[in-house]
């Protein structure tokens, strides 16, 4: 178990490292010049050269990379060009917002999608369930920026009960959360439905009923516990993806998370900031996935032995 965790963690560190290295190379290959973004349109060639020198961009790529790795090992992520501050500080300043949004979205998703999915499984193929199904798909198919703008217009302007943007109050969390959750609820509730349908038809459930377990117990204690793993995985994966920044929603709601930061960093070709963001978010995402993997072995006793279930 511990051996597995260590090996798995090692692989993940490698993944993060390779990811960051790929990004390091890619952003430098991409067109665009940090110096030009930094110095503005009127800068002369000479100015640009100076700025590039200052950023250390005149060095060969391999030297830059070596330096980057060396600094990384000492905990130095470089200085953001546009913020003129340690890149790590800038990213860490934003992380709490992203994590707050991601966590609240995932929480809302779980709280809504699981009961909804269970309800849909138990009422499978009735008219109401079909209607709910279509609604969730529709929720899944609305572009996030569209949902966002619609919700904004509705709840901040037409019926002004919620703040339109930002994070000044807890109320500010509501609309971005809902916007993100609408999509996730659709995905998760349909997954719950599928899993629950399968588990409600499983032989052990009939057997449990034959020994007098109540219908509530059958649904929640038996079918749900057995559906928990794929659902948990999906929630974990979604959460990991959200830790990378819910870019569009952050932009629409002026939410100061890493998603909008990274878009900005890309617009100014702020290499150190991009690298730091990728490193931090990739590490966070990988960590979440790792925790989900560990949670597996707690939830699914069959995995604990490290032996496959099927035959």
């Amino acid at each position: 178990m511990i051996g597995y965790a260590v090996r798995r963690l090692g692989q993940s560190v490698l993944t993060v490292f390779l990811t960051v290295s790929t990004v390091f190379v890619l952003i430098r290959l991409a067109p665009g010049d940090p110096a030009a973004a930094f110095a503005g349109p009127l800068a002369t060639t000479e100015d640009l050269a100076k700025v590039r020198q200052m950023f250390g961009l005149e060095e060969p790529l391999i030297t830059q990379y070596g330096l980057f790795i060396k600094n990384l090992l000492t905990g130095d992520f470089g200085t953001s060009y546009s913020f003129q501050a340690p890149a790590l500080d800038v990213v860490m300043g934003r992380m709490p917002y992203t994590i707050t949004l991601a966590a609240s979205a995932i929480l809302v998703t779980a709280l809504v999608a699981i009961p909804l999915g269970v309800w849909m499984a138990r009422r499978a193929d009735t008219r109401r369930e079909l209607a709910a199904n279509v609604l969730t798909i529709a929720g899944q198919s609305m572009p996030e920026f569209w949902t966002g703008v619609m919700l904004l217009t509705l709840f901040a302007v037409v019926v002004p009960v919620l703040p339109a943007s930002g994070f000044a109050t807890w109320g500010g969390l509501v609309l971005p959360t809902v916007t993100v959750a609408v999509l996730q609820i659709a995905l998760i509730s349909r997954l719950v439905r599928r899993e629950m349908c399968a588990n409600l038809a499983a032989p052990y459930l009939t057997v449990a009923r034959s020994r007098g377990v109540s219908s509530f117990g059958l649904t929640w204690r038996y079918a749900m516990a057995n559906s928990a793993i794929p659902v948990l995985t999906a929630l974990g994966t979604r959460f990991a993806a959200m830790v990378n920044g819910v870019v569009v929603v952050e932009v629409v709601f002026a939410w100061p998370g890493v998603g909008s930061l990274v878009v900005r960093a890309l617009e100014t070709r702020d290499y150190p900031l991009i690298q730091a963001t990728v490193l931090v978010t990739a590490a966070a995402a990988v960590l979440v996935q790792f925790l989900v993997d560990l949670a597996y072995s707690v939830l699914d006793p069959r995995i604990r032995l490290g032996k496959a279930v099927s035959r």
Binding site: Q11, S12, L14, T15, V16, L18, T19, T22, V23, L26, I27, L29, A30, P31, G32, A124, D125, T126, E129, L130, N133, V134, I137, A138, Q140, S141, M142, P143, E144, F145, W146, V149, M150, T153, V157, T237, A240, A241, N244, G245, V247, V248, V251, V258, G259, V262, V263, L266, I274, T277, V278, T281, A282, A283, A285, V286, Q289, S310, R311
Partner: protein, 283 residues
């Protein structure tokens, strides 16, 4: 012959319900999809103005005025024409993207599931890496790197989507490869790659293919998100995402510019998903 199965009982029976639900989903889904896809496919034959034909005198007309079914946009272009012609690009991108991601995903996922070992390790790491990268940023970066052409956008969307397919394919293959018929084929003397290609993949392709179908909807959405963030295909292509993001400054004054293309996307996605659901449940 007596029977206790009354028509009422039969009507409420699980099978009847399921069949009815499936039929309904298939029908409703096909209709929704067809409502979107057919006009888009036939856009060039329909009696509508050209998508780029401007009439600055009739800017932002509401739907159903002056023969503009969907109204007009900021430059007086017929919105319906733009949506239909834009749909050609959006759908082309979507279809190509899911084809590519489907093929890559199924091949990579199946290989990982079937061969295990280092193949699996490499594919799994790639999957993990993809998940741990800020997706949209990477896509923006790749678009910046190679320019915003239709093939690049297609590849970029495929890049975003193949892991989903690969993950499903891998898990399906993990189950499938344990089945005795796979052993049987090996015993007959088929190579491992042959077994994978002849027996395993054909047996998972339908279920994996359904996932690909559902991804079509997401591809269209992703394209619109990219356009929204400014990385859509180069103008003058009026993709759905572009139309929506161009129109979103007018949400409150000219609702149709955003809402109608948005509804078209919703209709298509709902349609495709319903068909996918119906097919998935048939098995």
């Amino acid at each position: 012959m007596t029977t206790a199965v009354t028509p009422a009982l039969l009507a409420g029976a699980a099978v009847t319900r399921r069949r009815r639900g499936r039929k309904l989903k298939l029908w409703a889904g096909s209709v929704c999809t067809a409502i979107v896809v057919l006009p888009v496919a036939l856009a060039n034959l329909l009696p509508i103005p050209g998508p780029d034909q401007q009439d600055l005198g009739s800017r932002r007309l509401a739907p159903l005025t002056d023969g503009h079914l969907f109204g007009t946009d900021q430059l007086g272009r017929d919105l319906l024409a733009r949506v239909l012609h834009g749909g050609q690009v959006s759908l082309l991108i979507g279809v190509l993207a899911v084809l590519v991601s489907g093929i890559v995903g199924i091949l990579a996922g199946s290989a990982a599931g079937y061969f295990g070992g280092w193949v699996d390790a490499v594919v799994s790491r790639l999957l993990e890496a993809q998940l741990s990268l800020p997706l949209l940023m990477m896509l923006l970066l790749v678009v910046a790197l190679f320019g915003a052409s239709v093939p690049v956008i297609t590849m970029v969307i495929a890049l975003a989507q193949w892991p989903e397919v690969a993950r499903i394919a891998r898990s399906l293959v993990l189950v499938e490869r344990e089945k005795p018929y796979v052993d049987a084929a090996r015993m007959l003397g088929l190579r491992r790659a042959g077994v994978l290609a002849v027996h395993v993949i054909p047996n998972i392709i339908r279920r994996a293919g359904l996932v690909v179908l559902l991804l079509l909807a997401q591809a269209v959405l992703l394209e619109s998100a990219l356009s929204y963030l400014g990385a859509g295909p180069q103008r003058p292509f009026a993709t759905w995402g572009r139309i929506i993001s161009d129109g979103q400054d007018y949400v409150t004054t000219s609702w149709w510019l955003v809402t109608l293309p948005g509804l078209v996307i919703v209709l298509l996605v709902v349609g495709v998903n319903l068909v996918g659901d119906a097919l998935y449940e048939r098995r």
